[in-house]
Symmetry: C2
Subunit: 430 residues, 2 copies
């Protein structure tokens, strides 16, 4: 949905990422996502993003374009010590300012380097050059300071391209600088952009879309976004920066999303499937062990991405060969011969086998055909069985037919398995 064109460009921002490696280097500009989120929380909307190479003329031109359409311009990259890095020179040139070594920039850099037992190299000395009239933004974890200045009714900030340095400087100096400046220069205070994100699994995008039809009232200043990936469909509610929105309106929309999507929602905001499952296991004092075939270790890798996972993850077995399924999980060779390794029965036997042998509360299993090879006449690529066994009569298996390449099928299978575990853990609570 178009966001409208407020006459006030004060709260409109543009990011300019600088670096030839972002043009043809296999690396995309991810810094701008972080910046957009941080600015959005302050009511500043990133409406344009640009990428240019380490080229002075291109940077100068990009700056000139940006200040025409955005009140806030965020440059990242090109502040390093090498000859390539020319953001300082380009900003000075564009604005007709002098570059000179600034004491606070030099002192900050020297202090930082001395922590690492080093002194500034000749090349690094260039990093203390700051355009005249600019405010120095200190870099608490690197040698290149940033800076901020106003030009042609816009605030221009330059930050390093290293994500960790940029992120810390956004929090510690860029945001405080911006909010102070905006407070001084504007009578109106902006409306923070409120963004609610719901991660869903289990229905395709078109069906999620249908369930959410008519959710947003025609005049409401809230946008509904849907984004499909192999890990599910992400649903977002985003308020616009330049129209006030009542907090209780967002809250009632959030409630409505929950009412319409229910258990399809597995996580919200920055949360993840593996973290949700981890919290449920911790709370219920349960342990898990995983027997993976086609996912090849991905489920275990995901579970152990969460700090503290060692409390509830005991072990995983990736049994790629049939022999491994029999030797390590006790899946009978006859069962594999009769039903095939990719079958509901083998998934069930794997879940039981890993639970019993690991002595854990619950066993989780996956067997399937990730492709491109391995399909038979009756069993196509993408056929996947997931199993869960918690002893007694608590055993469940599910069949899935996924589309996509090997990597996508692995991702979807891991999500299906973790979601089965999540739903089972939730059912125990109610």
């Amino acid at each position: 949905m178009p966001v409208g064109h407020p006459s006030d460009r004060t709260f409109i921002a543009e990011t300019i990422a600088i670096g030839s490696e972002l043009l043809l280097g296999g690396r995309s500009d991810s810094n701008s996502l972080f910046i957009a989120e941080m600015l959005g929380a302050q009511g500043i909307e990133v409406r344009f993003k640009s990428v240019v190479g380490d080229d002075r003329t291109d940077i100068v031109n990009a700056l000139a374009i940006a200040v025409r359409r955005a009140g806030i311009v965020m440059l990242t990259g090109g502040l390093g010590p090498t000859d390539d890095d020319c953001t300082r020179q380009a900003v000075a040139k564009a604005m007709g300012r002098r570059l000179a070594r600034r004491k606070e920039a030099f002192d900050g850099m020297t202090a930082q380097l001395s922590q690492w037992g080093r002194v500034p190299s000749k090349a690094q000395l260039r990093q203390a050059l700051i355009p005249s009239g600019a405010v120095v933004l200190p870099n608490p974890v690197g040698s290149a300071p940033g800076f901020a200045l106003s030009w042609k009714r816009s605030l221009v900030l330059a930050l390093p391209g290293v994500p960790r340095e940029m992120e810390l400087m956004m929090r510690h100096s860029a945001i405080p600088f911006l909010t102070a400046q905006l407070k001084r220069s504007t009578k109106t205070s902006p409306n923070p952009i409120v963004r609610s994100v719901f991660h869903t699994w289990g229905l395709p995008e078109a069906e999620i879309d249908a369930r959410l039809e008519g959710l947003i009232p025609k005049v409401a200043p809230v946008n509904l976004g849907l984004l499909a990936s192999p890990m599910g469909v992400l649903v977002s509610l985003t308020t616009t920066a330049h129209r006030p929105v009542k907090r209780n309106m967002v809250e009632s929309l959030e409630k409505e999303v929950h009412a319409r999507l229910g258990e399809l929602i597995f996580a919200e905001g920055q949360d993840s499937m593996e973290a949700v499952v981890g919290r449920l296991l911790t709370k219920q004092k349960l342990t898990v062990a995983v027997a993976e075939s086609c996912t090849g270790g991905l489920i275990s890798h995901r579970l152990t991405q969460v700090p503290g996972a060692s409390v509830y993850v005991d072990r995983s077995i990736v049994c790629y060969s049939n022999r491994a399924k029999t030797e390590m999980l006790g899946v009978p060779t006859e069962l594999i011969a009769q039903q095939g390794a990719v079958s509901r029965e083998v998934a069930a036997a794997m879940a039981t086998g890993i639970r019993e042998r690991a002595g854990v509360s619950v066993g989780l299993s996956v067997t399937g055909i990730a492709g491109p090879g391995g399909a038979t006449e009756t069993k196509p690529v993408g056929l996947v069985y997931v199993g869960l066994d918690a002893g007694g009569s608590e055993s469940v298996t599910k069949e899935f037919r996924f589309h996509g390449d090997r990597s996508v099928i692995k991702q979807r299978s891991s999500q299906a398995a973790l979601n089965l575990l999540r739903r089972w853990l939730l059912a125990r609570e109610s």
Copy 2:
């Protein structure tokens, strides 16, 4: 290094990615990397990248800026069936052209949908609207066709934002269209951008940089790029589009990179560590099994990303708990008690244990502290031991001290383990 400013803008391109979710949606514009690579091979240099939301006015303005600086403008996204999707309307408006349903666009869409047993919905009919004078670019895997037209001395192409659709259309219609047009309109043919990529592991960026000092002659039209990540340092040689370069010059630089970096280079171009290891195992008819602790399944996940991995991957065991190390790998409880689970001795015992129990040619193991918890006074976060055992006297362990968060330490540990296997496999060949 700046790429210079040829007066000829014919071979300069700009990408404009359209979609509000790219501004504040947690998803970055990765399509432009693919486009830059495809165009580069044709001698067309992507020198500007832009992102705008689903906003007609913003798209119109971005287009006007792009045609001033680039001879080729590649739009992606905004061709879907919903109200948000307004790329067609924006292009028609910018250029003052009429939008009308085009027969070949409609027929292509209908044929595509009928394959899925569907007919076009009312919303999808909009996708057959094409600006007057444009050439339709068929979409072989989706319902939204693209289009191409010339405007103000530039060629403007619009493609869908779904990566799979965009990629196929680049190969099958966009590149053939562009090369035909450029052949017709220009006397000079462009110099393809040649890009050689070397993936290295084992030395920090600064040391790789030092080894490559003076590699590129001052006047050579080749840029050297270095890009550090948790998986190692990527080294690239890139020719510029607008200055001719002799193929044998690139070849001699490539040789020199090999001479200076040697076995630090584990893969080139699109190749990966796991694919290289897989080919070596296949060629030598060896099988592998992995015992993972702190990597939590990541090594196994990476090995099984390669199609056909089932030939050489037998099984993996993720033994997070000490009990699992003893039960599944036969690591003596006394050894763990004496040396600690994170020790050279336990890594060696894990590698031997997995090799013997799986009955494979070579056992690989990792044990370490991924953090944030688990450190002791003598064993900090990031301490990692990697082991390899191939029976007889062929056994090796290595100690590493990595920095970074949990996820980075897992990545580095997996790379260190796979590299140990790679070096061992290479040594057997010589």
